[in-house]
């Protein structure tokens, strides 16, 4: 055996994160949309750089309690759902089932399919890391009925839909009701709020929200998504959504925004301030992107230190993990690869 290779411990790799959110817990979005890729990333991160292996993944199949930002997905069968939960459990990663629709009406609260997802999530929780994440307090109460012992987290959409002013006391009150509360993406940039939270360890931070900090349309946008969920064939709703996004400039690329902190993607200084204030759970969300690669790139961009001294080594880690994609799978050849087939569950 070559003398070049020397076994090293995770502690010896701490220098890679010492200046960028050391000793933190991470959740990666994209579950139930990009599971194959998340599996590859998690598996290879576990091997290459376990310091950033996520504690959990977040996401939800299409259902009445969740929203889709782009194409409305087809329903997922319960057996496929359970199989996905088991795949993550085998990687020792929890699943945060995110019911991010804040506009839950009474008739939706007892949805059979959604309730079954929660029961299955609890039943399959052999690694004791699963949780539900909801955007509606009445839905949280419903969760307690279905699974009293399940960890219940508060989704940022709960704060986005909040009609009253968001204050530290609101957050502190929510922290009493929920196991964990995710800050509104804008509030993560406001020390006046986050430094007043009594227990930062009970809060999570989304690090890669791409929407403008000054957007006044978040709530209205969620309302539209909820309406689209109820009426997915209504083209007028979809058109209104597209027009709203364009009006608010969510996809603009503009030189004038270069030095401004235009989006809610957190700067290095901002994450450092949050970490110094005691926040240690961070989320790389994926629901707001239409491309899987955006999430995958963001996972590395946000979890690794790309400062001048370590950019080469962080790039190595990313490259090494991403090299696992596209490898030969030893599958049988197919003469029908170019054609589309629809699964029916």
């Amino acid at each position: 055996m070559s003398s070049i290779i020397k076994p090293i411990t995770a502690e010896q790799l701490m220098f890679m994160v010492d200046n960028h959110l050391p000793r933190t817990q991470w959740t990666f979005g994209g579950a139930f949309r990009y599971d194959a890729s998340l599996g590859v990333v998690i598996e290879n991160l576990s091997r290459s750089f376990p310091l950033r292996k996520p504690f959990s993944v977040a996401g939800c199949p299409a259902c009445k309690w969740s929203l889709d930002w782009y194409t409305e997905r087809r329903p997922m069968g319960l057996s496929a759902f359970s199989a996905t939960l088991e795949k993550y459990a085998a990687l020792n990663v929890g699943v945060m089932l995110t019911f991010d629709n804040p506009f839950i009406t009474d008739d939706m609260l007892h949805d059979t399919y959604c309730s079954a997802l929660v029961s299955e999530l609890y039943r399959c929780d052999r690694v004791r890391k699963n949780s539900v994440c909801v955007a509606n307090d009445r839905l949280a109460a419903r969760m307690r009925e279905i699974c009293p012992k399940m960890m219940i987290c508060c989704h940022p959409n709960r704060l986005i839909a909040e009609q009253n002013r968001r204050t530290p006391s609101l957050y502190n009150k929510l922290a009493e009701m929920y196991t964990n509360v995710c800050l509104h993406p804008v509030d993560a940039t406001r020390p006046a709020i986050f430094t007043q939270l009594e227990h930062p360890e009970y809060f999570s931070i989304v690090v890669n929200d791409p929407l403008p900090r000054n957007s006044a349309l978040r709530r209205e946008h969620l309302r539209l998504l909820a309406d689209i969920r109820k009426d997915p064939y209504n083209a007028d709703l979809c058109l209104r959504r597209a027009q709203m996004v364009e009006r608010d400039g969510w996809h603009n690329v503009d030189a004038s925004t270069l030095r401004q902190k235009h989006t809610c993607n957190l700067t290095r200084n901002e994450t450092a301030a949050l970490h110094a204030a005691g926040f240690n759970h961070y989320i790389v969300q994926g629901n707001q992107f239409r491309n899987e690669m955006t999430l995958l790139w963001d996972i590395f961009r946000c979890t690794l230190d790309y400062g001048p001294e370590l950019c080469n080594k962080s790039a190595l880690i990313a490259s090494s993990v991403m090299a696992a994609f596209g490898q030969p799978k030893n599958e049988m050849s197919s003469g029908l690869k170019g054609f589309k087939f629809t699964n029916y569950e």
Binding site: S2, I5, K6, L258, N265, C311, K313, I317, S319
Partner: protein, 322 residues
């Protein structure tokens, strides 16, 4: 004086980027080029390098490099449209006179000669036979001395070898380890004709490098029959793929350069920087490196480039299978 784009990496705004992925990640390279040009107002690179799987190609000898003639042609036309020069990686060490009749290699050289708006299309070579062939039959194409040439020719660290190569070739690839040999680099004349690899994800001073290159050249001549198990075995115990070694070894850590190391090269007068990335069976690696090396990086209190990068990814359209 031309205005420098605010989106360009200010540490090396005049870098001449030479990007891997021709004939394998063409769609993505073109997408990135177009995004930068149309939305950010600058051209991120004007050179791509690569070659499909063929006997002349070495450096990367992999299944995902298989292409048919129409795919090669389509890619070449897209590069021509954008004034992007193609540097063919015809770097097989073992080419002899009998290999000069290769129809694919020659067809590509004809194409490069006929679709050469920048007059910069080039052939990267390690074989003297191929060099003579190109000079004789395709005199309009530029010649580049390959990494394989300097490595397997025993030229690492030797100024006189670099001088001889610079006399013969239009451009010269510097040995990957020599990018950190500042004493040598200072003495190289005509630095703009020397190409430096900045994102090599292997270990520094890899003892396997010459064997790796020679085995690739052997494999390229016998792709379906080559037994690479000996190389695989040696690579697995050499440290090249061991993350602990790559991240922490004092002498053999990863050869990919830090910001300070690239800046130093640029300050010395080098401009032509090569970015490898077609060795993976997907285009993410080269795109990740394009984003971090070509574009400016956010300062500690900035996030605009993070958002721009997200918008780049969001701009890539779904790839529909044929």
């Amino acid at each position: 004086m031309a205005t420098i784009s605010p989106y360009l990496n200010p540490d090396w705004p005049d870098a001449v980027w030479d990007v891997s992925g021709a004939f394998v990640n063409d769609r993505e390279l073109v997408a990135f080029h177009d995004f930068c040009k149309l939305l950010l107002g600058f051209e991120p690179f004007n050179i791509v390098h690569g070659a499909p799987l063929c006997s002349w190609n070495s450096g990367r000898v992999l299944k995902h490099l298989m292409r048919d003639a129409e795919e090669i042609r389509a890619a070449g036309l897209e590069y021509e449209k954008r004034n992007i020069a193609m540097y063919y990686t015809f770097t097989n060490l073992n080419l002899k006179e009998e290999h000069m009749k290769d129809p694919l290699g020659n067809a590509m050289l004809v194409f490069a000669g006929n679709h050469n708006p920048t007059k910069r299309n080039a052939v990267i070579m390690a074989s003297d036979a191929l060099y003579d062939h190109v000079r004789r039959e395709y005199p309009k194409l530029r010649t580049v001395s390959s990494i394989l040439k300097i490595t397997n020719g025993g030229g690492k660290g030797k100024l006189d070898v670099y001088k001889r190569l610079a006399d013969k070739y239009d451009e010269v690839m510097v040995h990957p380890d020599d990018v950190l040999n500042y004493d040598l680099l200072e003495q190289i004349e005509d630095k703009e004709r020397h190409i430096l690899l900045v994102n090599e994800y292997c270990i520094r001073h890899c003892p396997l490098r010459p064997y790796h290159y020679s085995s690739l050249s052997d494999m390229a001549l016998n792709y379906f029959g080559y037994d690479g198990s000996d190389f695989d075995k040696r690579q697995n115990t050499n440290g090249c793929k061991d993350m602990g070694t790559l991240l922490t070894h004092e002498k053999h850590s990863v050869l990919a350069l830090t910001t300070a190391e690239i800046k130093r090269l640029r300050d010395m007068g080098f401009r032509h920087f090569k970015m490898q990335g077609r060795g993976h069976a997907n285009g993410s690696s080269i795109l990740f490196d394009l984003l971090r090396l070509v574009l400016r990086n956010d300062g500690a209190d900035e996030n605009a480039m993070h958002a721009i990068s997200q918008r780049f990814w969001e701009s890539i359209l779904p790839h529909q299978p044929a």
